[in-house]
Amino acid sequence: MLKSALINLSMNRPKTVFWGVFLLVVLAGLQIPSIKVDTDPENMLPHDNAARLFHDQVKQTFGLHDMIVLGVVNTGEQGIYNRQSLTELQTLSEAIVGMEGVISQDLMSLDRVDNISQLSSDSDGPGTIRFEWMMKQVPQDQAGIDQIRTAVERLPLLNNTLVSGDGQAAGIYIPIVKKSESYRISNLIQTEIDNLKGSSEYYISGLPVAEDTFGVEMFIQMAISAPLAGLMIFILMWFFFRSLLLISAPMIVAMGSVIITMGLLIGQGYTVHIMSSMIPIFLMPIAVVDSVHILSEFADRYRPGEDPKAALKEVLSHLFTPMLFTSVTSAVGFASLAFTPIPPVQIFGLHVAFGIMLAFLLTIVLVPAYIISLSPKRMAQLQDHNIEEDDRSRLGRLLSYTGRFSIAKAKTLLVLFVLVIVGSGYGVAQIQINDNPVRWFKSDHPLRVADRVMNHHFPGTYNAFLVLDKSGDLKTELLQSLNDRAAEQGVDLQPQLAGVSGEDFTAYSDELINLFDQLSYDDADNESLWLALLDLTEQAQSEGKYFLTPEALQYLDNLQNYLDGSEYIGKSNGLPTLLKTVYRELQGGEQEQYRLPSNATAAAQTILSFQSSHRPDDLWHMVTPDYRSTVLWLQLSSGDNQDMSQVLALVDAYVAEHPLPQDVKLNWAGLTYINVVWQDAMVNGMLKSLMGAFVMVLVMMVLLFRSVKIGLLSMLPLTVTILFIYGLIGVIGKDYDMPIAVLSALTLGLSVDFAIHFLERTRAIYRRCGDWQQTVNEVYKGPSRAISRNAVVVAIGFTPLLFAPLVPYITVGFFLATIMAVSAVVTIVLLPAVMQMISNKDALFGVKKDQLEKEKSHV
């Protein structure tokens, strides 16, 4: 019904078809300028993902911002501790502080942090503590500079964070308002760097820059490789057909599909993510294949002078079902990505699926309309191009040899394939699941270089945050004890408490204190009650400050010591670090005083002393003002998910052995951690997608062939291929990262096409001739050539990706091309061998004896 309606529409009203498609393309094309690129890996998780919400909440609670890390490196004798380097550092830091989008008050650099020290001249008396800028001005002489070095090396929070342990690198930590600004800001910084003419080297690093830069380069990449892919396909088809006339139609179908699909995606308001940016490159090769089929067959059947409509109708009715099925299977492969709980991957999968179905539709309506609109003269020209290759061509001979080989050595081949599968299974077990957005750049990219240099000097530029929360309902407990105490004296507190409204416990209890304080003054009759309540409230408030208690601090300190001993963690910074440092300075500065205050009051007063500095608010990056949540900042030298997973395992092991104090919860935040979360979600999701796609494609195959056996057979080549490719990835040690994960499900839909064509033709030929040997001979002529050619078109269609400057594109291009090629080979070699081993061919191909006889008598 639908089929004939579509075909009639396209042949009878070609102009309507052209205009309709044209309008759609224009409409969609108009959406494209409002494109928004999004490369934020955080968006790999849905906005309401628990880990992501927690990460955002931690950033908010502790005032943590995404950071650009600028490295100043001088490998000379004095490292960065020379006047020139330090002056440049200060120049840069001053310039950066003035930049829009930089959170200036939180910027960390040698010239913007405090030094806490002893005043050396003061030998007797109570001892003098000094809070001063570490480097308000660059000292004139080397002695002054050396003093800075000594001071930095004394302060654990600064040493190896602001200046590397080897003294050769200094860091400027630049917190920014929005991650998406980091490319712009890093360019501004680069401009400032270019204005310097010193002997130091400068490196801009940090995950936010990597992510934002990737977005910018991705945009350029898209603008280059999509047209390049188009050009590549054009050249390829020219090579095969040598006729502009023939090539135009598929090119129009491809362009139309790409523009409408991208317009649809952008028009719906979706951002273009790494995967979505590859849509044009995926769609183009897939879109041209069907039109090539139609044109080839039409050119075969059409004789000049005949009614082209009749020939077309015949071609279309013949091709409609296989084209529909190959399109649907490909679409299903992509659409199965919707099972992965990663929104950008879902959007990618569904839109490519849409694009494939659209390409099918456009092929069915546009190509016939195109042919009908050709003048008879041009139509005649179609004939001049011999589309079918000669059997004696190199490819022809190779294929026919392959056919004979495959049948003759069927047993050996099967054993070989079983071995390959076993080997692949082993390889798959070796797969290293790992990713790191910085590695999305090639290894000579400035960001990769900066990453290497910075992590060579510093303990790490990747951040993970370990958050400990103490739970408990302080407010209810306090109110209970207050009411009890008031009841003893027959006083009802409710009227007094009605006006107290503090949001959190600190504010609430502060208000209570003010209230009771005032009442004790105003209401002299009940003074003792109000003072008692005041005491209760103050006590509750002090006791509520959990992370000032020795128990909590000791746990944190032990955990930090444990973490610092691990090779995966460069350095940890936390409240114990700060407390021990300030305590040491209060006690005279000797190293044996580097320890935790002995009780909560001492800790509170140590903190009060710290707060007399220039940057008292740095404290709140480590602990909340109610002292019920604290965060350890871990500096990791590797942003690999694998290494972060090791860190997670380390902490889990520690907590298992040293249980957390009562009512204390431990959680993770930080971009490096978020990357692990979405990777895990993706790996699990991909398995679901793969299974989903496998089952759906299998069901479709069974329906298409109306045979369970052939349906299963058709799944064989792609199963072997995917297993082999992933086994290979495991064996050669290539990390299983995002692009590789995404490939699995979608190749399933793409590579089954070969099996469909191959089995369809094999069965048709066998049903006609009833002889297996003859069937094999014939199959290795026409059909195998068509399959090989299509494999080449699709595989080569993806090769522009190989020239991409960004690694995920190269990965996708390389593996797609490999998968296409391998699955074509496996189809052609393995399927006949397997069928050779199935003795009852009649049953396999559903041939009834009498039917065969009848067909034979026709011949």
Binding site: E94, L119, T128, D504, T506, W620
Partner: protein, 268 residues
């Protein structure tokens, strides 16, 4: 009640007469001097209880309470301060002692009862945070007038508007600041600080004043960190002048043994 009313009425009359009588000042140094005395040197000594509410950029509030005792050697000259913390309870009886010198660096001591520790705090920089608030030490005890160059920008009906910049620019974080001095009380009621990029980043403002024992006195002021959006509000209560405190009240001995007599809240 009647007495209270009378004092307000009197203050009003007094305020009016000063406004009428006061000649318009044109010498910037004289304005600065008078403002300095008006804000930091009222009476020969004084006490007040401060309640500080620190509000961070997220709206989280913390409170601190302390009593300030002050004794002047001479108006505009040397002074002594004793700051004794009462809340939160875990910093109770933490004490700051300051010997402020009109010429030269101040002497500062700190006593931490939880560590039973007396420390001197190096003179150095006084533009550091006062116990984690947005007030600087200098805002509490006063900035040395001779550290800055002052310029009278404008004189309007109510205010003298001054602009000042540090003589030693490297010693401070501001490039310049503007002060609005209320003519009637000679109290600076608003100060705005600009950074090296000439961006307004910090504001100190008076939210309430009261006349106490005849002296116009700031009872509520606020410092806003305009970059982060955080602020600290300080309220002064139970203010008394001319109590007759001795210099011994401000000795190092008071660090460990705060003078109860003067810390006790006066009865109404």
């Amino acid at each position: 009640m009647f007495k209270h009313f009378l004092s307000i009425a009197l203050a009003g009359v007094l305020g009016l007469t000063t406004a009428v009588q006061a000649e318009e000042l044109t010498d910037v140094n004289e304005i600065v001097k008078k403002a300095n005395v008006a804000s930091y040197y009222r009476g020969d000594d004084g006490r007040s209880e401060a309640r500080m509410l620190i509000e961070d950029a997220q709206g989280r509030k913390q409170q601190r309470q302390f009593t300030i005792l002050r004794r002047d050697h001479a108006d505009g000259g040397d002074q002594q301060f004793l700051v004794v913390f009462s809340r939160p309870a875990d910093v109770r009886n933490t004490v700051f002692l300051v010997e402020k010198h009109a010429q030269g660096d101040d002497d500062r001591w700190l006593y931490l009862p939880g560590l039973d520790l007396v420390k001197r705090i190096s003179a150095g920089d006084k533009r550091t945070s006062f116990v984690g608030s947005h007030f600087f030490y200098e805002d509490v005890s006063g900035r040395n007038l001779s550290d800055d160059n002052h310029r009278l920008l404008e004189t309007n009906a109510e205010h003298y508007v001054l602009e000042s910049s540090a003589k030693n620019a490297a010693s401070v974080e501001f490039s310049r600041y503007q002060v609005w001095i209320e003519k009637s009380s000679m109290l600076p009621v608003k100060i705005e600080y600009y950074n090296a990029n000439d961006k307004l980043y910090r504001r100190v403002e008076v939210l309430a004043t009261e006349t106490i024992q005849g002296f116009p006195t700031v009872t509520k002021s606020k410092v806003s960190d305009l970059l982060s959006g955080a602020s600290t509000t300080m309220e002064f209560r139970f203010i008394r002048y001319d109590l007759g405190m001795e210099t011994a009240v401000f000795s190092e001995r008071s660090l460990r043994n705060p003078p109860r007599q003067w810390l006790k809240r006066p009865k109404q």
